[in-house]
């Protein structure tokens, strides 16, 4: 490792790997096929010194990965909790030999039945306001809606490698990761190697979900153990995996004579799989999406987390806000159906100019959100298409019209909740040096393009026209932990923290002796509510189901978004497109060649927090898609993802019931 002094600051420039692959051990993993099982026998072949097997018992330290106070085993020891859990790692001189040898390993398991491990889950989160009316006198019209998302758990076909090697007293890890400190922490716990001597080199990556958060840390701990045991560099190669939790939202609403909602209860149940990571934060995010944007005399919301022997749910760039927002949008469209009007007109009727202030989201003006909605409605001819589809559906009684259009609108939220920010205390440090340069000590090293934009924003505030004078320190033992790069946190709330720190540093640099440093953390973004709203959007989605194959296809998406500040328009547009497409594909939609996304993005010029683009776009796409599918496929197709077979079944049931 090189250590250099620049402007009186020690910079650690860790060497990247520079060794022959012939002196390396290549590792592959054996994953479980089913969850809730016991390993009854693990038969290993006779292995010579070129091979190494690592099971849960071979780790010198703790066999756990800890994440915000909750833990999960790195390798299954006796019981297999969920499918895809790592059972063992096999290292060989090359991958072909490892794969051939893996075939010789015999694994016998037996079902655990009902004796599944008890998970430590948080209590149901409840929130509400007003006195609820039980409608005993039949004054109100009562209706119920049900929104469901089925679990998605699959590999993402993206191969990635994690390499570990030793260089003197240091353990180097090279991996694509969304949180370098989690890797250092996990490797320290698993191997006993001091954290200070663990250096992480971040490989470039693009993650659609949060697949580079937990898996790289698990693989790094295993690879580091292999390196310690063999004395040789070790590499693990595996595919990324993601899992979306199963979600169900039941709402009961009392409507007055104008079909306006007066009292409402919303119960959300989330199955987070075998282990729950950040369940309390999930509850807070989900509750924020669950609170309806229209005024109510009384509201009761609850979010319950459950567990099952299924793969642990990744955040999927949302942590529940998107799913809850989609459920609210789905619910509004169902109420519009009851009222006999289009969802757009119904929204305009029930939504006021200002949203109610709650503990989770402040009472903001609905003006910008309504503008986005209007823009989308105009561009897509929403009202006309919605009405035509509804009338035609009645005409085509037997098979249905098989066309649907759906709409959703909402506000974005940024990063983590205030409660979590207070608990965690991630921070970074900005220094103004004697040579009039700015150095930033942070573990948040994202993509080059983002860092270039950050450099420009910071230099504009302190050293105008000299972005090259802003330096992000390389990762080393003294790197400060700025937290994980999930929920677009680093491009949303962290950008605001950098901005605020730059402003403060610009003032104190003239009053104090140089070099002058400033520590900044999430405290700068504490709000009276759990989340601050920022950015608004609306999406309309047009779906058609093929009459012969029953395959649902999305033909058009219209989107309108308003953000406070747009740092890079084309990146933002790309990010929105990617999120929309990813959500559509994830939910079983076919994308024909003629598919188009029509986006209208504007900037409102305010200096507000920048919201997570993914969370908002994902929630709105999911909401609009559910509404469109509901119109196209009828009342039984309320769960996503949906397949052609399920649509067929839904029609058969509908016919049978009629």
């Amino acid at each position: 490792m090189h250590c250099t002094f620049r402007d009186g600051i020690l910079l650690f420039m860790a060497d990247r790997k520079n060794f022959s692959r012939y002196n390396m051990r290549c590792g592959i993993l054996l994953h479980a096929k089913k969850g809730n099982e016991r390993i009854s026998e693990l038969k290993l072949p006779n292995l010579d010194s070129r091979y190494l097997v690592i099971t849960g018992r071979d780790l010198p330290g703790n066999n756990t990965i800890q994440f915000f106070g909750r833990s999960m085993p790195l390798i299954a020891k006796e019981t297999i909790s969920f499918p895809e859990q790592v059972i063992l790692a096999l290292f060989a001189p090359d991958y072909e030999s490892a794969e051939l040898m893996m075939r010789e390993i015999g694994l016998t398991t037996e079902a655990l039945g009902e004796e599944a491990e008890e998970q430590d889950l948080p209590d149901t989160l409840e929130y509400g306001w007003g006195e609820m009316d039980e409608n005993t006198d039949g004054k109100y019209r009562e209706t119920e809606t049900d929104f469901s998302l089925t679990r998605i758990a699959r590999r993402n076909n993206k191969l990635f490698t994690v390499t570990a090697w030793m260089d003197g007293a240091n353990m180097h890890i090279e991996a694509p990761t969304q949180w370098t400190d989690l890797i250092r922490d996990t490797v320290e716990r698993a191997t006993g190697y001091p954290k200070r001597n663990i250096i992480v080199h971040v490989l470039p990556y693009t993650s659609k979900h949060d697949e580079f958060l937990i898996a790289p840390a698990v693989f790094a701990a295993i690879a580091a153990t292999a390196t310690i045991k063999t004395g040789l560099p070790s590499e693990i190669r595996d595919e990324g995996f993601f899992s979306r939790p199963a979600v169900n939202v039941k709402r009961r609403v009392l409507l007055d004579e104008d079909s306006k909602p007066v009292f409402e209860t919303a119960e959300m149940t989330v199955d987070q799989g075998a282990f729950a990571f950040l369940p309390e934060e999930y509850q807070r995010q989900a509750m924020t999406g669950l609170i309806p944007p229209y005024p109510l005399k009384g509201f009761r919301g609850s979010v319950k987390i459950t567990s099952s022997p299924k793969p642990t749910a990744s955040f999927c760039g949302s942590l529940g806000y998107s799913e809850a927002l989609a459920s609210t949008e789905y619910h509004i469209s169902r109420l519009a159906e009851i009222a006999g009007t289009t969802p757009y007109l119904y929204r305009m009727m029930i939504e006021k100019e200002k949203r109610k202030f709650t503990d989770y989201i402040p009472g903001f003006d609905m003006d910008e959100q309504k503008k986005c909605l209007e823009s989308v409605v105009r561009a897509s001819s929403f009202d006309r298409k919605w009405s035509a589809n509804t009338f035609q559906k009645e005409e085509f009684g037997l098979l249905g019209y098989l066309k649907g259009i759906g709409i959703a609108s909402g506000a974005g939220i940024s990063g983590f909740s205030t409660t979590l920010s207070k608990e965690t205390g991630f921070y970074a440090m900005m220094t103004f040096t004697q040579k009039q340069n700015i150095t930033i000590n942070t573990s948040a090293m994202t993509h080059q393009k983002t860092m270039k934009l950050w450099k420009k924003r910071i230099s504009d505030k302190i050293i105008p026209g000299r972005p090259e004078g802003v330096l992000f320190l390389d990762q080393g033992p003294d790197t400060l932990d700025t937290g994980p790069d999930v929920l677009s946190r680093l491009v949303s709330s962290f950008t605001l923290q950098l901005d605020n720190a730059a402003k403060r540093l610009n003032v104190i640099k003239d009053t104090e002796k140089l070099p002058v440093s400033l520590k900044f953390d999430a405290e700068n973004t504490y709000y009276p509510c759990e989340f601050e709203n920022s950015g608004y959007g609306a999406i309309a989605c047009e779906v058609r189901i093929d009459k012969l194959s029953m395959i649902p296809s999305v033909y058009n998406i219209w989107g309108a978004f308003t953000f406070p500040t747009i740092m890079d328009r084309s990146s933002l547009e790309n990010s929105l497109r990617r999120t929309i497409m990813m959500t559509l594909r994830e939910n079983g939609m076919n994308i024909p060649l003629s598919f188009r996304i029509h986006l209208d993005i504007s900037e409102d010029g305010t200096d507000d927090t920048i919201s997570s683009v993914q969370q908002l776009a994902r929630g709105l796409t999911l909401g609009a898609l559910s509404n469109a599918m509901k119109q196209a496929a009828g009342r039984h197709a309320s769960s996503l993802p949906i397949t052609a077979e399920e649509i067929n079944q839904a029609f058969r049931e509908e016919k049978h019931e009629d």
């Binding site: 692959r21 090359d94 991958y95 072909e96 076909n157 993206k158 191969l159 990635f160 490698t161 490989l203 470039p204 693009t206 190669r237 993509h447 084309s570 790309n574 497109r577 990617r578 929309i580 497409m581 990813m582 594909r585 994308i591 060649l593 003629s594 598919f595 188009r596 996304i597």
Partner: protein, 162 residues
Amino acid sequence: MKIDCTIDGKTLTLSLNSDKPLSLILRDNTGDNDTVNHCNGAMCGLCTVLVDGKVMLSCMVPAFEIRGKNVTTFESFRKSKNMKDIEKAYESVGSYPCPECYASRSLIFESLIDEGITNPEEILKELSIVKCPCMDPEDEIMIVRRGIEIRRKRNVRRSQFA
């Protein structure tokens, strides 16, 4: 088996299994982990390479198929003048692929520009092997057409100087 081939301008003699996919050869033997994915034939479209100038999904190409052939990955293609033409076309249209599919899409654009294909259907069909949705089909067609123009102008300029 031993296979002689040229990868990114380097003539190599590789000793490997005859059915090893090209994507894994590139990852294991040339260390190209960043620009070549291996989805095991799941058609992710993120493992494209140029084999004798033609776009191919490297996870579908077995080792014996590259014997005596010239393989170009994005790692070396990014430094070429042809890539500059594509970058100019991106800039001129105002749209570019996301970091995930940048390498694959650029190589497909190169093959389309090289063959001078302007038919929208053919362009979209060829580009449909990349499943990433970050670009508008209209923009993709424009990029190919603009790329052909830029390439033609460069070739004319070169022949004039010659």
